[in-house]
Amino acid sequence: MSIHTAHLSIRNLQKTYPKTTAPAVDDVCLDVAEGELVALLGPSGCGKTTTLRMVAGLLDPSAGEIVVNGKDVVSTPVHKRRMGMVFQSYALFPHMNIAENVSFGLQMRRLSRAEAAKKADEALDMVQLGHLRDRRPAELSGGQQQRVALARALVIEPTLLLLDEPLSNLDAKLREAMRHEIRSIQQRLGTTTLFVTHDQDEALDMADRIAILNNGRIEQYAPPSEVYDRPATRFVANFVGKANFLDVENVEKLGNDTYRVKTNEFGVLEVRGVDGLDPTRASLVVRPHRLTTTRVDESVKSSRPASIGEVIATSYTGNVQSYEVRLNESAVLRVDQLTDTLRDLRMGDRVQLTFDPAEAYLVSDE
């Protein structure tokens, strides 16, 4: 399959459904480079599907532009946009066999029967389902149906590949295998892809960049490591990965992205943070695995900020051991430790928590 991929630019996209007041998608701007896989990540109801359906042409935007390869496609009817889409329910045609399902888009493009059959077979081989070409969708497992849906979307060499929670109906094992399969096919073909998911692991694992949506707005658009290490808002920090939030006061700006803050628990710290945040509405994010614990009786004087508290809960998930440590009335922090480095703490133990301020991050509360 050759590459016909595109650059996508969504500009100030907005959608307000009839008979509702609040927009479901509000002023969304998104640039997707050629060959990039971008994940739209957010909780249920935040407007991911609405955005994707507008890009596909299944839904008319209330305002804004969807620019594909420099051309605004908002007025282009859905069947002429040349996009490939995988639906959450797979939406295979129940009355056609697998080969017919996959060649559907080619037939609509008036390819000769022979050529369509050849390309459909290639696409089915790509997802390793060539041997099932004569079966009906109902005779396939969920994972197989999902691959057929992927082949059907890719066989037309789409300008954009749109995926709406394609893995959410699969069991956990299969989901992980399919992540890698989708990603490797996407990278091999170089197809520009918009991937909707509510699963942060999926987004972190697969995407070149992640757009985090909340209430129809993009809170942050950045590569996975940046989203995780330098979340723009409290919402992002909370949604992607686990996060502890410390209240801060006396926020003082030192440089573009460096601040001096005072915390109740760890004293005055110099930390990095979001550029240009409102000093009166900020919190300090400390990821649970950035915290280290030492028992109070064996604690050594550390140059790092430290605070003493009591273990009030423990939980074990195989490779990670988690503790909840209460520092004071209002601050209960979560600590994650790899089980290899296990400190073996128990409920009621008094421990000292420390972290490297360079690994904490100041975010806006909005």
Partner: protein, 260 residues
């Protein structure tokens, strides 16, 4: 104990419901000309005389043609209406669905009389057109209902997938929607056919002097004669209906459509 009682009850109810049909079947084999059960000398003479009765043959022809056209016309009208109700949000949608789906509360006698009064001046009584129009009105809700049922239980995203992958509205309908809802369509069409074929009361008013349908012909026959001939004819009609339903059930799973 309770189970036994239950079974007896069910049997009694079914017997009660089926009693008239059983009586009709028994009468149809009468050897004599009385309209009563008399199996002293069973015979098939009434079947023979019915199958040779010119009036009935003509009536059956009219009924068959009418019912076929009604089924077809009702499909052509009902399917787009059902599609509009199920897939498009337009002004007056609830009015349209209410209009076509609410049970017919007007007594058929009143409906028949009304149609007669309308049809008389424009010379539609006793014509195919008149009977077809009348039957159209009473069968269209069934087709809309069964089609709607298929549409609402099928996955809309199949149609969306077709569109995204390059099918225009007509191709989407033709290649995806229609095949998916065809069981509902066939079920609706069969019901329309059977209802039209069986309909007596309204047809009685609009059939008039020209074309008469089989049920009207039977009704008239009964007015002057009371022999087991009509019973024999009824058994034939029941057999035809049962065969149609079984064939359709085998072919598309009518029961599935009716239950969903």
């Amino acid at each position: 104990m309770w189970k036994f009682f239950n079974q007896v009850l069910v049997t009694v109810v079914y017997l009660f419901l089926l009693a008239p049909i059983i009586a009709v079947v028994l009468i149809s084999f009468n050897g004599s000309a009385k309209l009563s059960i008399d199996l002293g000398s069973p015979s098939l003479q009434w079947y023979a005389s019915m199958l040779m009765n010119e009036g009935f043959i003509e009536g059956a022809k009219v009924s068959f043609i009418t019912a076929s056209i009604v089924a077809l016309v009702v499909l052509c009208f009902g399917v787009p209406v059902a599609l509009a109700i199920a897939r498009y949000d337009f002004r007056g949608r609830s009015f349209v669905s209410g209009l076509f789906l609410s049970p017919l509360l007007v007594p058929t006698v009143v409906l028949g009389l009304g149609l007669l009064l309308v049809f008389q001046p424009i010379a539609l009584t006793g014509t195919y057109a008149g009977i077809i129009i009348a039957h159209f009105g009473i069968t269209v809700p069934y087709v809309i209902r069964t089609t709607l049922m298929s549409l609402t239980t099928s996955d809309v995203s199949c149609e969306e997938a077709a569109k995204v992958h390059g099918a225009n509205s007509w191709e989407t309908f033709r290649r995806v929607t229609l095949p998916i809802i065809s069981p509902g369509l066939i079920a609706g069409a069969v019901m329309a056919f059977i209802i039209s074929f069986d309909e007596a009361v309204i047809s009685l008013f609009v059939a008039g002097a020209g074309r008469t349908t089989l049920p009207v012909e039977m009704f008239r026959y009964l007015q002057y004669r009371s022999d087991p001939g009509v019973a024999a004819l009824s058994v034939i009609l029941i057999a035809i209906s049962v065969v149609i339903v079984i064939v359709v059930e085998r072919a598309v799973g009518l029961r599935k459509v009716m239950n969903s």
